[in-house]
Amino acid sequence: MHYSFDIERGNFADAGQASSSVKRTLKHLGVDPANIKRTVVALFEAEINAIAHAYGGRIDVDIDDGKIVMVVADQGPGIPNLDLAMQEGWSTASPQVREMGYGAGMGLPNIKKNTDDLKIETTVGVGTTVTMTVNLT
């Protein structure tokens, strides 16, 4: 099963739509609630990161019997220092984004904690692709 969603820069009003749609599908498929939780936490955080930091992008989700693979690819600006970005508490979010209760530097650590595999490819000036896998078995 394949789903894709567009991400629009700064469009927080629609944040969570992809996660919500994937959650409904997984519930319908009878996936274990613990795995549904891990999937929605990771996908929501990646979605928020792209909305808050990127110039737009796309989410692709593939679901099969054994695993869920989520790819969030954006068109920049890229992450200059990935080690810092992975550190809990580190954030480059704007004051407006922080006012909404984001920007605590917990997004990427949340993703890492809730996925079985996390791959981040990033090039400054080009973009970032986050590939997250949740194993179902």
């Binding site: 605590a104 949340n110 904690k113």
Partner: protein
């Protein structure tokens, strides 16, 4: 303790009636959205002063039956609309976070 009983006992204003019979397992108090996303547990009510639409998105994604907005906060209109679509109960307390947590803790500890 159900959502309905909490509303009655804490004299909360209910802005969206949903999940009134849901059993509340506890509460999570935080204004940081990723904190709630990562650490709240399903069945808990969420105590916060955030009043925008992403609150209901997270409550729905994490199966939190109700959100209690503290200090008489007013939710954004699109947050309330979204709460109706997603069946999230929206409650308002005149208390600040600390006294509200204390009262709720006494009820459901």
């Amino acid at each position: 303790m159900t959502v309905k009983e909490i509303i009655d006992k804490l004299d909360l204003k209910c802005l969206n009636e949903a999940n009134l019979d849901a059993e509340v397992s506890g509460a999570y108090a935080s204004d940081l959205l990723s904190d709630v996303m990562g650490n709240a547990r399903s069945g808990q009510v969420w105590i916060t002063m955030q009043t925008h639409k992403n609150v209901t998105a997270i409550a729905s994604l994490r199966d939190l039956p109700a959100v209690i907005i503290v200090r008489g906060g007013v939710p954004d209109e699109d947050m309330l609309e979204h709460a109706k679509d997603e069946d999230v109960c929206i409650l308002v307390s005149e208390d600040a976070t600390f006294p509200l947590c204390g009262k709720l803790y006494e009820l459901i500890k």
